[in-house]
Symmetry: C2
Subunit: 347 residues, 2 copies
């Protein structure tokens, strides 16, 4: 708390004027004389006066804070998003409360509840892998809470959203694998109920179709919990590797699945890219120093956070109700490195 805080009352008393005069002077009201203003400002500075945000919030009915719900902070992509969010939130006087779902619906529910109980002015959310029922968000949205979705979004609520161009990113990635000569390309992805899964899958299939490669469902593997635990991805990879018709390349669909796949293949002694090539969505800045250097689809995490927050604050601060909702799509970037090359160019 505002320890030993000086209040408006204290200043009023010291100056022998009323509290409301001080309040008005502090916000440079036209109905206060210059002399008094100067006096008040000086006194406030002298005592390092800071308005009590609780009192202001109670009065104004806002909290100047934004809630964020993501799967986990311990993830390059999301920490970049958070950096983007903070870069605009702080400059507009909002602070930010981050909560993590760890891909669990129950945690998402309790986090959203916790946040709204704690009084936020708006919510930024990337849905958990498990989430299928959106009633908790619809309820709040109907009550008037501004919400902006990013990354894992939904069409069930009418509001703004920001995503990467997942379909195109996946398309380019798959096309690259085809271009360098692979035809048996597996796709390891998250739960089919998550928006990004569908979008990335679409891009993957598109690239195959365009190149007359039949889509083989046994090469498409879902991790229902988004790869929250290693075992989930281990099982899926074991199936692919032990398959009689083993894929030549794997295209992985998320930060965690990508890096975990690399780790598991390493442990299994599967050589990349000789035994199996690998390319995946990841924002790790270590991609070029991995073994082998990792071909990657990079998402503009920082910009995504930035854009989502701008839109959210727009929703919060606008007077009239919004009727037009935007779906912002940000481009991804494809980085070709060694892990997706059919012949390893060793250094």
């Amino acid at each position: 708390m505002n320890f030993g805080a000086v209040t408006i009352k204290d200043i009023a008393k010291e100056l022998g004027i009323s509290a409301s005069a001080v309040s008005k002077a502090l916000k440079d009201s036209h109905e206060i004389s210059e002399k008094t203003k100067k006096l008040v400002l000086e006194c406030a500075k002298k005592h390092n006066y800071q308005p009590n945000p609780m009192a202001q919030s109670l009065k104004r009915g806002n909290s100047k804070s934004l809630g964020i719900v993501i799967s986990t902070i311990d993830n390059q992509f999301f920490s970049q998003v958070i950096n983007g969010i903070e870069s605009v939130a702080y400059s507009k006087g909002y602070n930010v409360i981050i909560t993590q779902t760890h891909e669990s619906y129950d945690l998402e529910l309790s986090n959203v509840n916790h946040l709204t109980v704690r009084a936020i002015d708006g919510l930024l959310i990337s849905l958990s892998t498990e989430t299928r029922n959106l009633d908790h968000l619809k309820y709040l949205h109907d009550k008037g809470l501004p919400i902006v979705f990013f990354d894992r979004v939904t069409d069930e609520l009418e509001t703004h959203s920001v995503i990467a161009d997942n379909c195109k990113g996946a398309y380019e990635a798959t096309k690259h694998l085809i271009d360098v000569g692979f035809r048996k390309i597996a796709h390891v992805t998250s739960s089919p109920h998550v928006s990004i899964t569908a979008e990335r899958l679409k891009g993957y299939k598109l690239a195959l179709e365009e190149n007359n490669i039949p889509i083989d469902e046994k090469y498409i593997k879902y991790c229902l919990h988004g790869g929250r635990d290693l075992a989930e991805i281990e099982n899926v990879l074991a199936e692919l590797i032990q398959s009689t018709d083993r894929p030549e390349a794997i295209f992985t669909a998320s930060e965690r699945i990508t890096t975990t796949t690399l780790t598991i293949l390493h442990r299994l002694g599967v050589k990349i890219p000789q035994d199996i090539a690998l390319l995946g969505f990841t924002n790790t800045h270590l991609a070029e120093v991995l073994n082998p250097s990792l071909s990657a689809v990079y998402q503009p995490g920082f910009d995504m956070g930035k854009k989502a927050t701008e839109m959210l604050i727009g929703l919060i601060e606008t007077k009239r109700p919004i009727t037009e909702f935007q779906k912002v799509v940000l481009p991804t970037e494809l980085f070709i490195r060694d892990s997706s090359q059919p012949v390893l160019i060793s250094k």
Copy 2:
């Protein structure tokens, strides 16, 4: 905000009783009849009553939130610390406001100010690399704000702190490098004004001394901004590499310096460990799949956050003033991988 929120007043009106009765019933006061309590509880549940936290805070003079100041969230070590912090904060009903200094004193100053203005009940801080003057924290501490330091700490304030056993971690790392046969061991570290720098340097020197290796100042390189930008580390590494007496191994002192060093050496075409061996502090879960797999000193980030938060909440919630302050030291773990081996055992 609590959108369309039901207040105590609303419940009171609906039930035809007074607001204070409702308030008391809600906290199961002994001076309210069981019958009324049941009525109130039912009504509250029916309308999904949530107390307004602003009003409660204003009344109680606390905010149930903790401020965190770290250098950056985009860092495995710190994101693990945050996970630890949240694990205890939420369970005790506190929420958490994270701010980043990006190693800048000015940002630290404005963040700390922002946080206290926003009314926090306590502060968890890892000092920025640039910070030398602690007046901003002393001032708040004197006013009674509970503060717990972690990671980069100071002796200038009398309060709890939690650190890794940096000296021992550095000692073990250096000793390992000596044991496998290196004698020319460089140390690339952060600013000499930061606590962890001194501690790690001490361990480094201790290991050298114990093995009768003279300490050579030209092998000790400081990054005054903690390696905030690449160029800083590039310069330092260039000096080491171009030295006529090039070191055989480098021991790096922080998450960012370690991973950046690996990246730069890669780009320069310096082979690890053949040309130069590398071992450093890092918490990245990708260490084993780096090229080469990276020998690392691992800090218990999660436990550090957990412990620091437990102590902070202890300070906040205790009635009587604390006189005994603890300095908790958590063990590090050394992982030997390929990057520190004099002969690479290739797979």
